[in-house]
Amino acid sequence: MMPSSHDLLPTTPTPTPTPALSPEELAAWRATPEYLSAREFGIDMEVLEFLQTLSAAERIERNDRFAALVSAARASQVRSRS
């Protein structure tokens, strides 16, 4: 029988929230090629910076709220076509 997820639990807790960057670290991040590339790609970097301050659970809850809006918009489009 395969081990379950419970059998593989680590003994040390994982920190949940992502620590915010200091002003100096934030400035350094904004100067990285990856950050600049993403900004040029059209990604909203203010949103990305905000998300870095949330915990994993908060990020999933935010995704679900937006997903509900997306689903409602798709349903509305389907109704208007029919």
Binding site: L9, T14, F41, M45, A56, I60, N63, D64
Partner: protein, 165 residues
């Protein structure tokens, strides 16, 4: 209103052996791209399928691609030969994937995963590096956009660790 965490809680409580991949993994790593389903990598052996079915009990699980078919079989032996399971539940869509592009089968994905805490629900999530590899391997326009964003997030982690980029 969250449903993904509710679904994760059920999968966790059943002992379902899995690694979160796809859009929810991206969201967990801080991506801004929205996803409407939960993708997980998992071994599709009878024991694990039994845990999956226990987790989905009462959620009216059905085949997402074939909603007119009867509900999912209750016998884990009925899933022999399946490589992926695309499931619709009352808590949202769940894709159980036997292999991930750019990474490999479930064991390889687990080797490229880390534990994350979702408000008390501890689950394995594909690492940021592996998710970037998977997105690049898929190569669709949206996957490449997500990969670009994830690379920026990786730059953030390197910055906070004081590493050069």
């Amino acid at each position: 209103m969250t449903t993904t965490l509710d679904l994760l809680q059920r999968l966790h409580d059943s002992g379902f052996h899995m690694v979160i991949v796809g859009g929810v993994a991206g969201a967990a790593h801080g991506s801004s791209f929205t996803t409407t389903d939960l993708d997980v990598s998992a071994p599709l052996d009878p024991d694990n399928i039994a845990r999956l079915l226990a987790a989905l009990a009462g959620l009216n699980p059905r085949w997402r691609m074939h909603p007119a078919l009867p509900p999912l079989p209750a016998d884990p032996a009925g899933y022999a030969g399946f490589k992926n399971l695309y499931i619709r539940t009352t808590l949202g869509d769940l894709d159980v994937l036997g292999e991930i592009a750019g990474i490999g089968a479930a064991a390889a994905v687990e080797a490229n995963s880390e534990w994350r805490d979702f408000a008390g629900i501890r689950c394995r999530v594909i690492t940021l590096d592996a998710l970037i590899r998977a997105k690049r391997a898929l190569g669709r326009p949206k996957d490449l956009a997500v990969a670009t964003e994830l690379e920026a997030i990786r730059g953030r982690h390197r910055t906070s660790r004081g590493e050069g980029s």
